[in-house]
């Protein structure tokens, strides 16, 4: 079934798709957003780790392979709002050194833009959706910019207790920048610090898409169609332009949505899967993939968690799932001797009992009466800190189409991901420093959160660069091969940095969307 042609169809209603939808709808474009899952409302966001799982995928259309398979289910989103419906809203930004690793260290590749190109969009996003923090304090590590629109969030003992330890090893901690309201902002209430951010904030104090850009987009006339599974991007006979997308609706019926511009904002994994599945005789390897780079350079973060029990009640149920304090003190690519890559440090997070991040998992070796005893101790005195680490892009970490197909006949994807030798070195260096911090902070028990090296966040697959010889898209997300086809989201990151990615996703999406709106006639033809 064909629908009325629109100006732009956006695939995915998460952070990046919502930003594009808002900018383009407010620019007067007719916008349709297709989202594969339900149309979640704030009232669906029950404060419960059980019910919080509902907003995550149930059986990703990906086979997770390699030595370090990506953690798709925990990271991913399902339904309107995407993963940003349940994200922690930590809003660190990338730093200038992230954009020129090749130039400065002869490693990986440079971004085609600099920090200064993105900085105005960080500031604009902060004003648009609300960010709390202390920009001045951060400026010991980065160029000056605008102040955040809200002061820092409250802190609690579970965060404050670490400060003495950090100071002892020379790590300066500053108030964490977060996409949450420390005060009422634009009609949205201030946070009440009950620690349920990770299952979705139903009061709108946390800047999820429903209460920010997607809400703006809807007000400006954008249409959001839930339960719409996109399977292919369609092209004209010459293969020079995209003409729309094919999708299956809630009744499993095939639909076509024609559009002048297509924006894929379906996350770093699904965007390449869609491009690869959209091959034609003019694009036999998939769209935008003449150079074979679609699906390549998949990246994740890893975290070195230091866990501790203190001999006092740290009220670990209080606060937010995001951090209270953060530091770029080890963000230099060679900050740790013998290791390579940035580390981004956080402290102070509200904890729940169950789910992956719950404190029952802080000692996975314990079960039976020993676990029961630990739970009692942990309920009073447990806290943790973490250092996110940067993975260098590796062309072998990739997405391919698999032989198996989903219910719509679309091949599943294979995400193949293995860490290289740099990663364990950085992981270990951060563990060692974390234990030193815990000891100096006066922890009664302390240990490293070991096990398999975690895979956190997902980036790459359609990376940006200076041209088709090294990348899939330009710095705006526009594909080098097909000018009216855009990629949005963390897939366009050239490198991963070590900062939580969503602030940068918003900033790059805003930059790309504004460019598209400005150059509309050239792009849409």
């Amino acid at each position: 079934m064909a629908n009325e042609k629109v100006d732009v169809v956006i695939v995915g209603a998460g952070a990046s798709g919502s930003t594009y939808a808002a900018v383009l709808a407010m620019a007067g474009k007719k916008v349709v957003v297709l989202e594969q899952g339900p149309d979640w409302q704030l009232s669906d966001l029950i404060s419960s780790d059980f019910w919080g799982r509902r907003v995550k995928p149930a059986g990703a259309p990906f086979l997770l392979e390699g030595k370090n398979p990506v953690s798709y289910g925990y990271q991913g989103g399902w339904g309107v709002g995407g993963a940003a419906l349940h994200y922690f809203a930590n809003f660190p930004r990338l730093l200038p050194n992230d954009f020129r690793i090749k130039s400065e260290h002869n490693r990986a590749h440079d971004w085609p833009i600099s920090y200064q190109d993105v900085a105005p969009y960080y500031d604009k996003v902060a004003r648009d959706i609300g960010v709390s923090g202390d920009a001045k304090a951060e400026e010991i590590w980065r160029p000056a910019g605008d102040a955040y629109p809200m002061p820092p969030m409250k802190t609690f003992r579970n965060g404050e207790i670490w400060l003495k330890g950090f100071e002892s090893v020379g790590i300066r901690m500053v108030p964490a920048a977060v996409g949450m309201n420390s005060t009422e902002y634009k009609g949205r209430p201030a946070c009440i610090y009950d620690g349920w951010c990770h299952v979705g904030c139903p009061i709108g104090a946390l800047a999820n898409p429903l209460v920010t850009y997607l809400g703006d987009a809807r007000k400006a006339g954008a249409e959001v169609r839930p339960w719409s599974n996109v399977t292919r991007v369609l092209t004209n006979a010459q293969g020079t332009k995209v003409t729309g997308v094919e999708y299956y609706d809630q009744k499993k019926e095939r639909q076509v949505q024609e559009a002048s511009v297509v924006v894929l904002a379906a996350w770093a994994a699904q965007n390449p899967r869609l491009l690869l599945n959209s091959s034609t005789d003019k694009h036999p390897k998939g769209l935008a993939n003449t150079n074979g780079l679609v699906g390549k350079y998949m990246m994740t973060h890893f975290s070195s968690g230091t866990l501790a029990i203190f001999d006092e009640n740290v009220e670990n149920h209080m606060g937010t799932t995001g951090a209270q304090y953060m530091s770029y003190e080890r963000y230099g690519k060679t900050a740790h001797k013998g290791a390579f890559g940035s580390s981004f440090i956080v402290a102070g997070t509200a904890l729940k009992t169950s789910d992956l991040g719950g404190f029952a998992n802080a000692r996975l070796d314990l079960f039976g009466p020993e676990l029961a005893a630990f739970m009692k101790r942990a309920a009073r005195g447990f806290s943790r800190i973490g250092a996110f680490g940067e993975e260098m892009p590796n062309i072998e970490n990739r997405i391919e189409l698999a032989g198996d197909k989903d219910e719509f006949g679309m091949p599943l994807g294979r995400i193949i991901h293995s860490y290289d030798d740099d990663v364990p070195k950085l992981w270990e260096a951060n563990f060692a420093e974390g234990l030193a911090v815990a000891k100096a902070a006066g922890a009664k028990e302390m240990w490293s959160g070991r096990g398999n090296i975690p895979t956190i966040h997902l980036m790459g697959g359609t990376i940006m660069g200076t041209g088709a010889e090294n990348s899939v898209v330009n710095s705006y997300g526009q594909t080098h091969e097909i000018p009216n086809l855009y990629m949005a989201g963390p897939g366009i990151f050239s490198t991963s940095g070590a900062s939580n990615p969503t602030y940068t996703i918003f900033a790059l999406s805003l930059r790309g969307a504004e460019q598209l709106a400005t150059k509309w006639s050239t792009v849409a033809g």
Partner: protein
């Protein structure tokens, strides 16, 4: 969500219970209450449910009474996209019943091989602990099925859920639950 689906979703969430079938009628109960009332299993066999109960209790004391088998049975009997299981987070491929059947079968096979043909539920407490500890460390010789450490992780998570993930579980630890939108009874 459309209105009809939202009502169905909120019915469970709002009342803090799950839907069980009794005499052909749908009733809303906590898993613990379902166990206490002897609600029949829909997907698990009696033997599988007994193994799961014994395993859950070994992993997290209190899981038996909290109704771990009824919880898992109800959850693997509904569409995967409605499920609230940790399996969803840990990338288990639906239908989730397949994983549980394979995991419980592996535990019972290992138990029988090591303990003269006795299934896990028939073992003494120390024998159960010993097997679980070996499974956790992937040290069960001849183990057949999903990897032992992963079975440990997932079933331990289920047991943690029913014992510590509920409002009752928080109260037992003295932790204020502090919901934005309260699951009004136990979830």
């Amino acid at each position: 969500m459309d209105q009809m689906e939202r009502r169905a979703f909120m019915k469970g969430a709002g009342s803090g219970v799950l839907a069980f079938t009794v005499g052909g009628l749908e009733v809303l109960l906590t898993p613990g209450a379902a166990r206490a009332q002897g609600i029949p299993f829909r997907t698990l066999t009696a033997a599988q449910a007994a193994t799961l109960e014994a395993l859950g209790e070994t992993l997290v004391p209190g899981a038996r009474q909290a109704g771990i088998s009824h919880f898992v049975d109800q959850q693997i009997s509904i569409p995967a996209e409605e499920a609230l299981l940790e399996a969803r987070i840990l990338n288990v491929r639906p239908p989730y019943a397949n994983f549980y059947r394979a995991a419980l079968g592996a535990v019972d096979r290992a138990s029988a091989a090591l303990n003269g043909g006795r299934g896990f539920a028939q073992l003494g407490e120390s024998e159960q602990r010993s097997l679980v500890d070996s499974m956790r460390q992937n040290k069960v010789e001849g183990w057949q099925g999903p990897a032992g450490p992963f079975v440990y992780l997932l079933l331990r998570s289920d047991a943690v859920d029913v014992v510590y993930g509920t409002m009752e579980g928080y109260a037992g630890l003295g932790i204020p639950y502090m919901p934005h939108i309260a699951p009004t009874k136990r979830w």
